[in-house]
Symmetry: C3
């Protein structure tokens, strides 16, 4: 692991303040801060969410949009650079819905392997989606299972794991 390199995992529900908290954490490091956005603006609702996120970030942020090849985007990050990956849940959605029929488990393992060797202060954000009622439809159940497994893999590799509750961070690891 490089000097000053570490992996912080910020996990939480929708509107739990994950991204805001992760941004503030990363900004404790010197600028510039890299932001790897996995969101794809495929409808108006998503475009509005992405714009709201971007508007909150001040100068000093360099945004990279990468819906699928997160491992590649991370490999291209400068040594020692503070990086925020936001978020794993949308990346997983993109992988599951990719028209070329990807192996979700294999891609998850590969990404977790990359995250296990941070080359700077890296912070990764993800959604917890498994604490509601079992979803009616099979795709949602498969997604929930894949997301839970991915979150476990990343949490195992992380130096710090935070669980967000109403904007407040609980230290889990």
């Amino acid at each position: 692991m490089s000097h000053g390199a570490s992996l912080t995992f910020v996990l939480g529900g929708a509107r739990s303040g994950k991204s805001g908290h992760a941004e503030r954490l990363l900004m404790e490091r010197p600028a510039p801060w890299r932001y790897i956005a996995t969101a794809q603006a495929y409808d108006a609702e998503m475009r509005a969410r992405i714009a709201a996120h971007a508007a909150r970030r001040p100068a000093g942020w360099i945004t990279v949009e990468e819906p699928l090849d997160l491992a590649g985007a991370l490999a291209a990050m400068p040594e020692g650079a503070p990086v925020l990956i936001d978020c794993l849940t949308l990346w997983l959605t993109n992988v599951m819905l990719a028209p070329d029929g990807r192996d979700v488990e294999a891609e998850s393992l590969r990404l977790a392997g990359t995250l296990a060797r941070p080359r700077g202060p890296w912070i990764v954000v993800s959604n917890e989606t498994g604490l509601g009622i079992v979803p009616d439809n099979a795709l949602a159940r498969r997604f929930r299972d894949a997301a839970g497994r991915l979150n476990q893999m990343v949490a195992q590799k992380a130096d710090n794991v935070l669980f967000m509750v109403a904007g407040l961070a609980m230290q889990v690891k």
Copy 2:
């Protein structure tokens, strides 16, 4: 802030013991205890829930029903009185479904401002609803976003924040 005034925020899932815990906490103060109920009995299921809640509360409780004007109901509370507000989630539902088309964000900000200046030991209960799969329908997604934002605002103002898990309180703040 008045002498002895404080805001405690009790957050949790359905059937996590939020109301029961909040009632026991408030009853550590001298009676009478004010209970501001935001529930509206618009169907049989809801009537049964309200009745079950009320039946659990012993003598010494003064119940005020206020589905919409929570800020007004709080302004009418006596100085120093122990007050339980149960719950923000139903209040938000009422605001979102109000026929006069209210500005949910503005009303949430106004309520959070009132809660930030407690005039006695105030306890406010709310549901965490963002830890499941993304809901299919757009109204549920808007509700989940608005609820998460409101919970964050209130948690930020609160002196104590408790996250309920199977009837047990985890101190978050």
Copy 3:
């Protein structure tokens, strides 16, 4: 309570690592380890889940399948034996869907009473399902309420309560 007897309650979402954590905890005790499985393989998806769980358990495990009479299965366990009950959520599903129309609340109380008197190191696993949006259908709401009440009863009796987040255990009690 027998010598060395205790009840540990492992609660968490789908794919939060509940079963794996509970198995590792139990295997800190001397073999053989009893596994009471409440799952019923009524479709292909469930058969695959059960097979995946079983494949992970090494030699030294004795599996008992008991979808409904958990209190009876526990009464048949040897004095002092380490036992894993996995999980309460499926047991509750089985009780609610049983063709003989069982009293869910009475059965929950009876099971909680049995768990309150462990005769060895017993670990019980359950799902938290109340942290998402209110489900559309009434059966799901009834299930969620019954599951939350059962979880509260068991957590109250337990010596240790763990809340699982991405494979990591938070000590709640």
